[in-house]
């Protein structure tokens, strides 16, 4: 038996707020927070690839939480299924779209941030056909066999680091 002494006690508040609204509110707040984080990351990150990962991950999670909250709000299976469709579709397509953009950006040679230290795809893409070959070593051997010239091993899609005035890498 709950005794309500004042209309502003915690139990009165808890009785007034329905559980469903509580869950929906929590999902909405979390979703809106992740949306804000995604947009801050998109505005502040230094290069395209970092912007893309923050936009895709945080943005998808934020919008997914918001739509899940909408689905739970109406207490109707109909609306819940529609919202789950939206969430599932977003979660399925956002990584694919992000991958497509990243691949296209890499192909048109949008440079990564100068502080990035690793380019694992260097030498792995055939520039003519835009197809992926197995490893940089295999690709290098292939190119050397066909062109007859020796490669240095530190080429990236964006040229050799020593050509840019950066510190030359010594073996």
């Amino acid at each position: 038996m709950i005794e309500i002494t004042s209309p502003l006690t915690l139990s009165a508040i808890l009785l007034e707020i329905r559980f469903n609204e509580l869950v929906t509110s929590a999902l909405l707040v979390v979703g809106a927070g992740f949306c804000i984080l995604a947009s801050i990351g998109l505005a502040r990150m230094p290069d395209l690839y970092m912007r893309m990962q923050t936009a895709t991950k945080a943005g998808t999670l934020g919008v997914g939480c918001v739509m899940l909250g909408v689905g739970l709000h109406y207490r109707s299976l109909d609306v819940l299924v529609q919202c789950l469709l939206v969430v599932g579709f977003l979660f399925l397509t956002a990584p694919i779209a992000s991958h497509l953009i990243a691949r296209a950006a890499y192909m048109v040679r949008i440079r990564p941030w100068e502080g990035s230290s690793l380019d694992e795809l260097a030498g792995c893409y055939d520039e003519e056909t835009h197809t992926l070959v197995s490893t940089p070593d295999a690709h290098r051997a292939d190119v050397e066999r066909h062109s007859g010239r020796e490669l240095h091993g530190d080429e990236t899609m964006f040229g050799r680091p020593s050509d840019d005035g950066g510190p030359p890498r010594t073996a």
Partner: protein, 123 residues
């Protein structure tokens, strides 16, 4: 456990709503008031701030790919905003609009990415 209960409860309320004589002037439920209505307003404002920061990148973005990423994120924020708006007005038909928006979002982004790759514009 609680999710299952919730679905059962939702199905029950749907059966009540579909029963003849149920009092619904239009479709949907009453627009929320009280703390929940205010929360919806705050969420809309937060989404608008997020859209503003995204639009900044859309205008400023140094490369075409930056603009495509910003447009993609903007469209998914619009999906969320449509959902919150449907709660504010209490009309659940807007959720279908959100579905259509999510479909168009992917097709548009994929088309932009393919165009970017095929055109081969170097920076």
């Amino acid at each position: 456990m609680s999710a299952g209960l919730m679905i059962i409860e939702a199905a029950g309320s749907m059966a009540i709503a579909a029963a003849p004589g149920a009092e619904h002037a239009g479709s949907g439920v009453e627009p929320p008031t009280g703390y929940f209505g205010r929360l919806l307003g705050v969420v809309i404002v937060a989404l608008c701030v997020a859209m503003g920061a995204t639009a900044f990148r859309l205008v400023k973005g140094p490369s075409l790919a930056d603009r495509v990423v910003a447009l993609d994120l903007l469209a998914s924020f619009i999906v969320g905003a449509i959902g919150v708006f449907s709660m504010q007005t209490g009309r659940f038909e807007f959720v279908s609009v959100a579905i259509v928006m999510a479909l168009i979002l992917f097709v548009g982004t994929a088309a932009f990415a393919l165009y970017l790759e095929k055109s081969g514009r170097r920076q």
